[in-house]
Symmetry: C2
Subunit: 379 residues, 2 copies
């Protein structure tokens, strides 16, 4: 795509931006906005999720199990205390974060994590009240656990989003070696679950009273859902999932629907063998978008804010394998254009979030991971 | 996009394919199909449109005004006789071709062209009966002319498609220097018109009996429409238009609708000034897709055939400035994925068509233009 050339056309200016003396600040010129990347924090160990606290501070989860605190732009050396022990094996660890909708009153922080051992583990959801000084979680409790154990450290899902109705949605994965379980309503593997803020089951969940189905299940037939967000234009719930080779998808989640994995897929297995002959089947949903080749999508956020007026309503998705940031233009619930940003950065992007200050923030996935902020440059 | 890397990953094999002794045949490896490019004809002077005749022969229009005949894979040196004189200035000349739905009986060939002088010209539609030997057009007549003259050689539109109801649709442009006329129903500039096969106005055209409107107008508010095709999945009529900088669009054409140019646009003027502050307005349609940066889309074809089973239903669009071939995956009337093909070719693509033999054919835009055929390679 020609967008790549444009994104790569970096203008290196000296002295225009506030920067370390003698340093040069790259300006990323893109179709709708020019921006610089500011490193807010570095030395993060595989950071996975960030949550913007009121007042400009941030929580950042590190996959190995630590919850970190960024105070007025500076990473505190000590982790927040009070978290449970997480299983840190391969993709497993401390994963997504979300704040309670009434966080200022309740101080509840929600976190997804892997629990157990390498031979028997599952995704869990916990919460704890963050102390006023941001140094500890108190009253920590586990609200939900996937109801069967699996082996190995693959496909945990792990993103959390609160809905306007006060319920939360937690994304899960098929466990990697257990793909057929994504078509089994009897367990939570390969589903997205919906819970009340205290972990109980909402009465209006699609399988709340179905015999043989897990009542927490909201949607099913997923492979590994690691991005979820509300579309503010329409109120619909968008999610993306890691597919097999050539089968990453974006779906609009509607209660009770089956998204088809592994019965239908646009991708093939990593070894080149087919997953399925079919891309369509009755009773199974079609994606809004798929990537072929795969980019390994990692997070999603719809932009709303004042910093980037020309990005209003746009959808941003991070790419791990793809090492870029995707921008989609959205019309209602349709994607109508796309641009690839930050292709020249050479970093796996694990999280993308919009903070109340109107900036986009990113986490890069590495042992020396960074938290980055996009600052608009007005040409 | 990562598709680019894959498209560029050409495997050069020797001897595997039937080829000139000692020659090497490039195999283009893409996500759903591998193929080679076969040069059917070369030395074409800015070829613009091709029409596949029954029995495997082809007509090719050259912008300067010649209609060429490709007989069993060989370009005849002499042009088909009988065409009117065309105005050949800049973008003007002999443009789109289409065969009558009952061509085997009627032998009618339809052609769009520019007529007049550099200071006063318009798009016209003609037809003539092709002799059995393909050497001449007889009974040539002009069926339609844009009702006002314009100066300079810009924005003629010029694609023709027959609809299942037997009517034909001809795409037009805003004339380049006359953009505001695209919002004026009193002339044909910036519209798409619908005609009976004899050039008369269909009784059910949206403005057939509207006072002050041209009765041929089917849709309006266009800039320069140079691709049009039926979506066989849905029966809807898709068209793309050249936008300003960053504003190329694909639209689904519905009778009587206003597509907004220049009142709304996703692009800006070539000199960087805005076309309009708005991308949306009441009573004006939103595109299915837009390109930013622009690619200069040149033609469109939905693939149906046996040669490329994994491309069934996909939409192909040529890019002039972009110098590639776009493949879109389509679900109903939505685009759900995209791939960029032939990025490494370095040729402006002017036409893309699917012939009854199931092959995709391309025309490259240059003084030494080529007609190319995509042949599938089974790995």
């Amino acid at each position: 795509m020609r967008a790549m050339a444009s994104t790569l056309a970096l203008l290196v200016l000296s002295g225009m931006m506030p920067a370390t003396a003698g340093a040069q600040t790259e300006i990323f010129e893109t179709e709708q906005a020019d921006f610089t990347l500011v490193t807010v924090a570095e030395g993060l160990d595989h950071p996975w999720s960030l949550a913007a606290l009121p007042g400009g501070n941030f929580l950042v989860s590190e996959r190995a199990g630590a919850l970190r605190y960024v105070e007025q732009g500076t990473l505190r050396p000590e982790a927040v205390t009070g978290l449970p022990r997480v299983m840190n094996d391969n993709q497993g660890g401390l994963l997504g974060l979300a704040l309670h909708p009434d966080f200022e009153t309740t101080r509840w922080v929600y976190f997804a994590y892997s629990e157990g051992s390498s031979s028997a583990n599952h995704t869990a959801l916990g919460r704890g009240r963050l102390s006023e000084d941001g140094r500890a979680l108190h009253e920590v409790e586990t609200l939900f656990r996937v109801n069967i154990d699996k082996a190995r450290g693959y496909h945990f899902g792990g993103r959390i989003v609160f809905q306007p109705d006060g319920t939360l949605v937690l994304t899960l994965g098929d466990g990697g070696l257990y793909r057929d379980e994504a078509q089994n309503l009897g367990n939570h593997l390969g589903s997205v679950v919906r819970l009340n803020d205290d972990g109980t089951v909402p009465f209006d969940n699609p399988y709340a009273s179905a015999r043989g189905a897990q009542p927490e299940i909201y949607t099913w037939g997923h492979r590994n859902v690691q991005g979820i967000a509300f579309n503010p234009q329409t109120g619909s719930l968008w999610a993306h999932e890691h597919g097999p080779r050539g089968g990453d998808e974006i779906n609009i989640l509607e209660p009770g629907r089956n998204y088809g994995w592994p019965a239908i897929s646009y991708g093939i297995n990593y070894d080149g063998t087919p997953v399925s002959d079919a891309t369509h089947a009755d009773g199974m949903e079609q994606p809004v978008w798929f990537w072929d080749p795969s980019i390994a999508p990692s997070a999603m956020a719809f932009y709303q804010g004042e910093e980037f007026p020309d990005w209003q309503g746009d959808l941003f998705i991070g790419a791990l394998a793809g090492e870029h940031l995707v921008r989609f233009e959205i019309e209602g619930d349709r994607i109508i254009s796309t641009e690839e940003l930050l292709s020249g950065l050479g970093e796996r992007i694990r999280d993308v979030a919009v903070a109340p200050d109107g900036h986009l923030y990113l986490l890069t996935d590495s042992r020396d991971g960074r938290m980055l902020r996009l600052d608009r440059v007005i040409p």
